[in-house]
C-alpha cells in the first residue's frame, strides 16, 4: 500500500510517499514562494530520490480543505492531473484531520487551527491519546474567542497544531486551559500526515476518481456580517 500525498493548503507546501504506515520520503518547504512554483519540482525530486514513478503508487492523496483559496486549487489540480495520467484512485483528506496524525500523546486533545483571517480560524478537535486519532467535532470556521471558550470548557490538556497555532497560542495566553503549542517539526500541515490519514481512509474504501476531487471550502461565520462598513458611497 503505497500513497503519494501533497499539501498546499496554507503557506507551507509538502509532498510525501508512505508505504504501509511508514514515511518513505517527504519534501517540506515553508517559504513565501508560490506553491505553483514549488510543488512540481518537489514532486519530481521526491519521486527521483525514492526511485519511484507514479505508476508504482497505489493511491494519490491531497488535503482538499479547508485552506487558502489558491493553495487548495494548486494541490488538487496537481493530484487530479497525475491521477488521471496514471489512472489511479484519489483520496480527499480534510486538512484539519491530516494534522491529527502529526503527533499522539496520552490524555491530550489536539486542536488543529488554520488562520482564516479577520480573527477567525478553521478548526477541528481530535483525541490523540491512541495511535488512531478520534474526531471530536466537525470541521468548522469560528472566531478565536469562541474557540477559547470551548477549550476552557474542555478541561483537558490541549496541543495546538496548524498554520494558525502560533496566532492562537499568543491570542489565548490568558485563558484557563492547559494549553500547549506543538514543536516546530510537528506544528504544520505535512503531506506525510495527509498520507497516513489517507491510508486509514483507503481501508474504509473512501477513494474517488480524479474527476470528482473538489476543494472543500468552509464558509466563514463572518459571511453573515456586512462586508461593506456602510452603504456604497457613489456610483461608478
Amino acid at each position: 500500500m503505497r500513497i503519494f500525498a501533497v499539501d498546499t493548503s496554507a503557506k507551507s507546501a509538502s509532498a510525501a510517499v508512505t508505504e504501509n504506515g511508514e514515511i518513505k520520503g517527504e519534501f517540506f518547504i515553508n517559504t513565501m514562494l508560490t506553491h505553483s512554483e514549488t510543488l512540481m519540482p518537489m514532486t519530481d525530486a521526491l519521486l527521483k530520490s525514492t526511485r519511484l514513478s507514479l505508476s508504482d503508487i497505489d493511491c494519490l492523496a491531497v488535503n482538499t480543505g479547508p485552506g487558502s483559496f489558491t493553495g487548495l486549487r494548486i494541490g488538487i489540480a496537481a493530484i487530479k492531473g497525475m491521477a488521471f495520467a496514471v489512472k489511479k484512485p484519489c483520496i480527499a483528506v480534510s486538512t484539519l484531520e491530516s494534522m491529527a496524525y502529526n503527533l499522539s500523546e496520552p490524555d491530550t486533545v489536539l486542536c488543529a487551527v488554520m488562520d482564516a483571517r479577520c480573527n477567525q480560524v478553521y478548526n477541528a478537535l481530535f483525541d490523540v491519546s491512541s495511535d488512531i486519532p478520534q474526531r471530536l467535532c466537525d470541521d468548522r470556521a469560528l472566531t478565536i474567542d469562541e474557540l477559547s471558550k470551548e477549550l476552557e470548557a474542555l478541561g483537558k490538556k490541549v496541543v495546538l497544531v496548524g498554520d494558525g497555532a502560533k496566532l492562537c497560542f499568543s491570542r489565548m495566553s490568558g485563558i484557563e486551559c492547559d494549553l500547549h503549542i506543538a514543536a516546530e517539526n510537528v506544528r504544520y500541515q505535512r503531506a506525510s500526515s495527509t498520507a497516513l490519514a489517507a491510508e486509514r481512509l483507503f481501508e474504509e474504501v473512501k477513494t474517488v476518481g480524479a474527476d470528482t476531487l473538489m476543494p472543500q471550502y468552509l464558509r466563514l461565520p463572518q459571511a453573515q456580517r456586512e462586508l461593506m462598513a456602510k452603504q456604497k458611497l457613489s456610483n461608478k
Binding site: 483559496f69 489558491t70 483571517r117 466563514l220 459571511a223 462586508l227 461593506m228
Partner: protein
C-alpha cells in the same frame, strides 16, 4: 493622520513617490474616494517609484493586477466585490503578507481590511486637478 493638498497631476505623483518611500513591502493600502479621484494615477506613481516597469491600469475586469517591482504589488479593484465569497475567491486573503496590496474601492470590503491597513481618502481640491489626500496608518 497626514493631510496633503496636492496641486495638479504633478502633486498627486509626488504623493505617490512619498508613499512608496515609506513602504516596507507588506502593507495593505486602501483607497477611499469616488470615480475620477485619481486612484489609478496614485497607484501608478507608487508603482513607478518602486521601480515597476509594467503597465499600471485599473483592474476593473481582472479584479487584481500583479506588478513586479522592488516588492510584489497587487492592485485590486473591489468595485464588483459584494460578498465575502466574492472576496475569498479573488485570493485576497492569500495575497496578504506576500507583497504590497493597493486597493481601489475599499469601501466595498471595509470590514475585511486588516487593522494595520493604510487608509488613504482622496477628496477634490480647489481646482479640477487638485486633490486632498488624507493618509492614516503610514508616516510619509
Amino acid at each position: 493622520m497626514t493631510v496633503i493638498n496636492a496641486e495638479g497631476l504633478k502633486g498627486t505623483e509626488e504623493v505617490g513617490r512619498r508613499i512608496a518611500g515609506a513602504l516596507e513591502g507588506t502593507e495593505v493600502i486602501a483607497f477611499f474616494g469616488g470615480l475620477g479621484m485619481g486612484k489609478t494615477t496614485l497607484t501608478r506613481s507608487i508603482a513607478e517609484a518602486l521601480g515597476c516597469e509594467d503597465d499600471v491600469s485599473s483592474p476593473t475586469f481582472a479584479i487584481v493586477n500583479e506588478y513586479k517591482a522592488r516588492f510584489n504589488i497587487y492592485h485590486f479593484d473591489m468595485y464588483r466585490i459584494t460578498s465575502w465569497d466574492d472576496l475569498y475567491s479573488t485570493g485576497f486573503f492569500d495575497y496578504l503578507d506576500t507583497g504590497v496590496l493597493i486597493i481601489e474601492w475599499s469601501e466595498n470590503i471595509e470590514n475585511a481590511l486588516p487593522d494595520s491597513a493604510v487608509r488613504i481618502t482622496i477628496k477634490p481640491g480647489k481646482t479640477e486637478d487638485d486633490r486632498i489626500f488624507e493618509i492614516e496608518g503610514l508616516d510619509i
